[in-house]
């Protein structure tokens, strides 16, 4: 069946360092992938969506590229900010299936 795997449950980084959160998927069809962000005591919100034509979506300094050859959609940012501390979910568009989430904590 369709599934999403996020290997890191917790990631702690120092402000200014690059961010990379991993996401791999299994899908029967050619899927759309998404990244959601959930700040403390808030609901999840859409951060990024994959494109079908190899374009790289960007939002709030974050970007991700869909690699069908490796079934991956890793989230990246060149320089972490304190405000990036949140829970990040990778999701697949078949019934909007979510991964287990990665809690990102940025320290000064």
């Amino acid at each position: 069946g369709d599934s999403v795997t996020q290997t890191e449950g917790l990631v702690t980084l120092t402000e200014g360092l690059p961010v990379m959160l991993n996401c791999t998927y299994q899908s029967t069809y050619s899927p759309f992938l998404f990244w959601y962000v959930q700040h403390l005591n808030e609901a999840p919100k859409l951060l990024l969506k994959s494109f079908t034509d190899n374009k790289r979506p960007e939002h709030q300094g974050f970007h991700a590229t869909l690699h069908k050859s490796s079934s991956s959609f890793h989230l990246q940012k060149s320089s972490a900010q304190l405000s990036d501390s949140a829970l990040y979910y990778c999701a697949l568009n078949e019934k909007i299936t979510f991964g287990a989430g990665t809690k990102l904590t940025i320290k000064p």
């Binding site: 759309f32 808030e42 609901a43 979910y89 999701a91 287990a100």
Partner: protein, 115 residues
């Protein structure tokens, strides 16, 4: 601004109790979803609906019933609540393109504790 409202926001019940979580959306969306959120498991889909009177089974449906009475209203029913159903529940809505755009609109969540 799209709006999804959940009630109650907090609920405490005992094992075997009967609980109904309500969700109303004013987005004119066809699709509505119920998720539960648990540490280590992320957001897991319980039930979803394509429209009034329609019900689809999600990935973790056991112990839950749902009913979509109107386009706006989607209810989640726990008829014999168990401690394993202690969780944070989110309702969401989307238009039919939402499965491709990823644009789900979430409610603020309902925290359920089963003692």
């Amino acid at each position: 601004e799209a709006a999804v409202t959940q009630s109650p926001r907090n609920k405490v019940t005992v094992t075997g109790g009967n609980v109904t979580l309500s969700c109303r959306q004013t987005n004119s969306h066809n699709y509505m979803y119920w998720y539960r959120q648990d540490t280590g498991h992320g957001l897991r889909l319980i039930h979803y609906s394509y429209g009034a009177g329609n019900l689809q089974i999600g990935d973790v449906p056991d112990g839950y019933k749902a009913t979509r009475t109107t386009q706006e209203d989607f209810f989640l029913l726990l008829e014999l609540a168990s401690p394993s159903q202690t969780s944070l529940y989110f309702c969401a809505s989307s238009d039919p393109l939402g499965v491709n755009t990823g644009q789900l609109y979430f409610g603020e969540g309902s925290k359920l504790t089963v003692l």
